[in-house]
């Protein structure tokens, strides 16, 4: 038996000979029996002894705690930080209200997606950014190079980031904190959980209601243990997180989106704010706005396969025997008890329901296009 595809070999994986960075929760993961894998230069938990399916189920039905401390966190401080950052993203940051965050994209001059990120406004002149682990050095360097000297980017290099996700997460968090459970979806606030200072956003990467919590590294284990001590909460690893985000139709940068895909191709045109379409002053505005009018050459779609054989990233997508694209993510959905995938097809894309096939080990497995997400999002109102 030989592994031919493994999450541990996913985007941002570095050679195991490179010294890996450790999460502030490293000792806790090992104490919990996690299987640790290299991911984006960090040793991170792939799964815990209960296994990916049990972790997935806990997140869909109750609450699960993920360590995502490998993600890049930074504060952008100073007057005009929002306007300066707008030169790098197509989102409306001037219109971002205090206590709210927004999903946006760092675009390149050819219109490609250099990274996707969250931007929150903590105070009028204080923004908070969360970017992907594999891109954080490049992202912060790019932002530094494009902001005026009076604005400062301050990475939170020693903070942990925890994701507390699931339909019971809010109720359980309410048992040990005040205020955060009143946050709306994409709301952000600073405060305390069980006496520990935190920055909390009501967001996540699972399609469920939940919270992402930035906490000082020194306090991270105490906070994680407090959350794990709440009734029924289980630790969950990157394996479950990947299955959950795929079911939720959410892109993984480096896999479903990258510098060669545009927001229009990736079906992320909703992130291009109306005002920014008019001002057209973000990197790649011209090719992106042209594609918005003319339609993209290819489009990211969701597929559901018949049978039980999962198809993985790279598998060709066919319509009537013709090669029309390829999967960028694929796996088995425990919620649907069926294989699913996302990928790019040439336009005009087949309509939802259209019969397609995915080629796996030389066999054309029947599939059809489905509307994303695969599992309806259940965010807070």
């Amino acid at each position: 038996m030989r592994l031919v595809a493994d999450l541990g070999a996913g985007p941002g994986m570095e050679s195991s000979t490179v010294e890996l960075a450790l999460s502030p929760l490293d000792a806790l993961h090992r104490a919990l029996g996690a299987r640790m894998v290299p991911f984006a230069g960090y040793a991170m938990p792939l799964s815990y002894p209960s296994g990916i399916l049990a972790e997935h189920r806990a997140c869909r039905t109750h609450a699960a705690l993920f360590d995502v401390s490998h993600m890049g966190q930074a504060e952008l401080l100073g007057a005009g930080g929002d306007a300066a950052l707008e030169h790098l993203v197509p989102g409306d940051l001037l219109g971002l209200k205090r206590g709210h965050q927004r999903y946006t994209l760092l675009t390149g001059h050819a219109g490609g997606i250099l990274d996707d990120l969250m931007v929150a406004r903590l105070a009028p002149e204080r923004l908070f950014l969360v970017v992907n682990a594999a891109n954080k050095a490049a992202d912060f360097a790019r932002i530094s190079a494009h902001i005026p000297a009076e604005i400062q980017i301050k990475p939170r290099t020693t903070h942990a980031l925890l994701a507390f996700q699931g339909p019971r997460a809010a109720g359980l968090l309410g048992e040990i904190s005040q205020g955060f459970t009143a946050l709306p979806f994409m709301g952000v606030a600073e405060g305390e959980i069980a006496g520990i200072s935190c920055l909390v956003s009501r967001s996540g990467y699972t399609g469920e209601d939940g919270f992402e919590i930035s906490v000082a590294g020194a306090d991270a284990e105490a906070l994680a243990r407090r959350l794990l001590a709440l009734p029924g909460v289980v630790p969950a690893g990157l394996g479950a997180r990947d299955v959950l985000r795929l079911e939720a139709g959410l892109c993984l940068h480096g896999q479903d989106i990258d510098a060669t895909t545009t927001p229009v191709e990736a079906d992320l045109a909703w992130t291009i704010a109306k005002r920014r379409r008019a001002t057209a002053d973000f990197p790649g505005a011209r090719p992106i706005l042209e594609a918005l009018v003319a339609g993209p050459a290819r489009l990211r779609i969701g597929l559901r396969l018949e049978g039980r054989a999962p198809a993985r990233a790279g598998a060709p997508i066919l319509a009537a025997g013709e090669d029309i694209g390829y999967l960028t993510s694929g796996g088995f959905s425990p919620s649907l008890n069926a294989p699913i995938g996302m990928g790019y097809v040439v336009t005009p894309a087949p309509e939802p329901g259209a019969p397609l096939a995915v080629r796996v080990r030389g066999q054309d497995l029947p599939a059809h296009r489905v509307t994303l997400p695969f599992i309806p999002h259940r965010y807070a109102n």
Binding site: M1, R2, L3, V4, D6, I52, G239, R308, A309
Partner: protein, 124 residues
């Protein structure tokens, strides 16, 4: 008396008279995690040692399973197609993959014995 041998690719072969049964080791199922799909060879297919003849997919990974010896597939375990998690629960017993009629039964002697396989697992 049945005897079990192993391959460096984490498969086991159990000889019971003329019947050679093949599966993946407990170490292999633990490394793969929850299995969701298994593809087995057609009975009657002849296979060369080292040839890919089955596929296992877990929630996180896909793996090839090799023929540990040359021969002909005599039978396959339909129970693991219906319930792939059976391999997680009983990798080295009820979760067997297929039975093989070897071209040369003496090839069994070239496989790793339990001590050698354990030593392989302990090699970092």
């Amino acid at each position: 008396m049945p005897e079990t041998r192993f391959t460096k690719d984490h498969e086991w072969v159990r000889r019971n008279g003329a019947i050679f049964t093949v599966g993946i080791t407990n170490h292999a199922q633990a490394a793969l995690g929850d299995l969701v799909f298994i593809e087995l060879p057609e009975p009657g297919r002849s296979v060369e040692a080292g040839e890919v003849c089955a596929v296992v997919e877990s929630v996180k990974a896909a793996s090839d399973v090799f023929a540990p010896m040359s021969g002909t597939i005599a039978a396959v375990n339909g129970a693991i197609i219906e319930d792939p998690a059976l391999v997680n629960r009983a990798a080295e017993s009820e979760g067997w993959f297929f039975q093989l009629t070897p071209a040369s039964p003496e090839a069994f002697e070239d496989l790793l014995d339990a001590t050698a396989y354990r030593a392989l697992l302990e090699t970092p």
